[in-house]
């Protein structure tokens, strides 16, 4: 009987493992509501040089964009309730040393004061998406902002930790180029993944970082710029990750798993047959 019991325990084990496997394969949960929207930007790994200066380089069209909706900035005063830029498509790439992020968004007019920005959390402390605004129960961190404005023709690498604390950094390591065509801006930002500057976000392939976006429509309406300062379109925090280099070691573990399962079957069958013979 003891012999038989061992076999039955092993059989039970097979049932459970197969059940777990089948349930994981076939019974996956449906995506959450609005699941078609993006939550992360993937910086695709490439062997080539990064397309840092040309927002219209053909390579960008080979990358599937992430898309994020935008809202008017409402967190602090001087807010507006309607913004021009309603959503942004984001593509990214890196080659292990440098990275580039392309923002593509609709803006009907090309204006000198048109501007775009990407914001990152810096270091390990969580920072509020409104410029690292002070939080009352949580010690927050700073943010790193890459700001591009049409009339400047370049990017400014900035830091902030709270309302009205934004300032340009001493070390400027971000480049940006924008191109407007038929109602669409394409702005490409680029930088080395690692800068060694404590005020900058450091991107390590495989690690998740938080990022957010902001846009200003610089159209002149009644003698004034339509959107400026805190009057802008913003996104919430989303995620970015530089694609890690492929890791083939996992295939070794897959083969090992298959071999162990086959060995287990062989052992089990022998035990049952011996049990029957005895």
């Amino acid at each position: 009987m003891g012999y038989k019991k061992n076999c039955y325990v092993a059989l039970g084990l097979i049932l459970v493992v197969t059940g777990v496997g089948a349930s994981c394969v076939f019974a996956s949960d449906p995506p959450p509501e609005g699941g078609a929207e993006s939550v992360a930007v993937r910086l695709h790994l490439t062997d080539d040089a990064i397309s840092a200066d040309d927002p219209n380089a053909p390579v960008w069209d080979t990358i599937q964009p992430a898309e994020f909706k935008l809202a008017p900035q409402v967190h602090w005063p001087d807010r507006i309730q309607e913004v021009t830029v309603k959503s942004v498509k984001v593509r990214g790439m890196h080659n292990g040393r440098d990275m580039a992020i392309l923002l593509e968004y609709a803006d009907p007019t090309e204006d000198a004061a048109d501007a775009a920005a990407i914001e990152f959390m810096v270091g390990d402390k969580m920072a509020h998406f409104a410029h690292g605004q002070e939080m009352l129960q949580v010690e927050g961190g700073a943010v790193n902002i890459w700001y591009w404005k049409k009339e400047h023709g370049k990017a400014t690498d900035m830091s902030a930790k709270g309302f009205k604390t934004i300032r340009a950094q001493e070390n400027q390591n971000v480049s940006a180029t924008g191109a407007w065509q038929a109602g669409t801006w394409r702005v490409v930002f680029s930088r080395p993944l690692q800068t060694g500057d404590e005020h900058d976000v450091q991107i390590t392939p495989g690690e998740w970082r938080n990022l957010a976006f902001a846009f200003w429509d610089g159209e002149i309406v009644d003698g004034a710029v339509r959107e400026q300062g805190s009057q802008k379109a913003v996104s919430s925090w989303w995620y970015v990750r530089a694609e890690p280099p492929p890791d083939n070691s996992m295939y070794g573990y897959v083969v090992l798993g298959i071999a162990l399962a086959a060995g287990f079957e062989f052992f089990l069958l022998r035990r049952i047959r011996r049990g029957n013979e005895s």
């Binding site: 009987m1 076999c7 039955y8 059989l11 459970v16 493992v17 197969t18 059940g19 777990v20 496997g21 349930s23 994981c24 394969v25 019974a27 996956s28 949960d29 449906p30 939550v39 993937r42 809202a71 008017p72 409402v74 967190h75 602090w76 005063p77 309730q81 309607e82 309603k86 959390m121 969580m126 509020h128 998406f129 409104a130 605004q133 939080m135 009352l136 129960q137 927050g140 495989g206 998740w208 913003v234 996104s235 919430s236 925090w237 995620y239 990750r241 890791d247 996992m250 573990y253 897959v254 083969v255 798993g257 298959i258 162990l260 399962a261 079957e265 089990l268 049952i272 047959r273 029957n276």
Partner: protein, 241 residues
């Protein structure tokens, strides 16, 4: 098909059909993990039941043993046996792969939607009388300051709501202000998103810290306007006892 094994299989299939297809007709669909848990419990219960006596254990496991050893098998049963022996290692291999393959999904976030308020905000009563004038004033202030995100219909669908994650609260939903006391809303409006504790992820909230712009009187009246406009009543201490 009268053996204990067949009965267990029928029971499991019946449970799955019930949990996956019939129950969602009456309530929210169950997550796959919960369905699996219920099925595992059913299987475990059946196995315990048939393990109570040696005889029925043999009846339960015997057919499986005969199937695996191929005793007296011909035709389809023989093919099915080979299929099981091939599929089991492949399934283990697939599981290993899905566990180790790099995911494109960011880390899961468990955000607490209604965290505990700080002590000084617990049990505060609205100092303003619930008069039509006060409610109307509250609704006017709501329209000016809150409706861009929370919506003119109190449904969380204001014109500025679309880009925010987490989205603004829908006050018509019975899971929001109907479950909360007025003092809780007073805390949330006064201190805003930045006043939330760590488990509520304050860094993601777009809710302004309204104490910077609005006097307490306005906040209390906005609360009155919100409950009235959304057709909800605040939770009171009496209900908790």
């Amino acid at each position: 098909m009268k053996g204990p094994l067949a009965k267990t299989v029928i029971l499991l299939v019946g449970m799955y059909v019930f949990l996956k297809f019939i129950l969602p007709l009456f309530t929210a669909p169950l997550p796959a993990s919960l369905i699996f848990l219920y099925l595992a419990l059913t299987l475990a219960s059946a196995m315990i039941f048939y393990t109570m006596s040696g005889g029925s254990l043999d009846e339960f496991m015997g057919p499986i043993g005969r199937f695996l050893t191929g005793t007296g098998q011909t035709g389809i049963a023989g093919t099915a046996r080979i299929l099981v022996f091939v599929l089991f290692p492949l399934l283990v291999g697939w599981q290993t792969y899905t566990r180790l393959a790099p995911s494109d999904m960011p880390p899961a976030e468990n955000r607490t939607i209604h965290p505990a308020p700080p002590g000084e905000f617990v049990g505060l009563a609205n100092p303003y009388e619930r008069t039509q004038d006060n409610i109307m004033m509250g609704k006017g202030l709501y329209a000016a300051f809150c409706s861009p995100c929370h919506g003119a219909n109190f449904d969380g669908k204001g014109p500025a709501a679309v880009g925010f994650n987490p989205p603004p609260a829908n006050f018509g939903d019975p899971g929001t202000i109907a479950q909360l006391q007025e003092s809780y809303l007073f805390w949330r409006i006064k201190k805003g998103g930045v006043g939330l504790p760590v488990e509520a992820m304050p860094w993601k909230s777009a809710m302004p810290r309204w104490e910077v712009e609005l006097p307490d009187e306005w906040i209390w009246k906005i609360i009155m306007g919100e409950y009235d406009g959304a057709g909800q009543s605040p939770r009171t201490w009496e209900e908790e006892e």
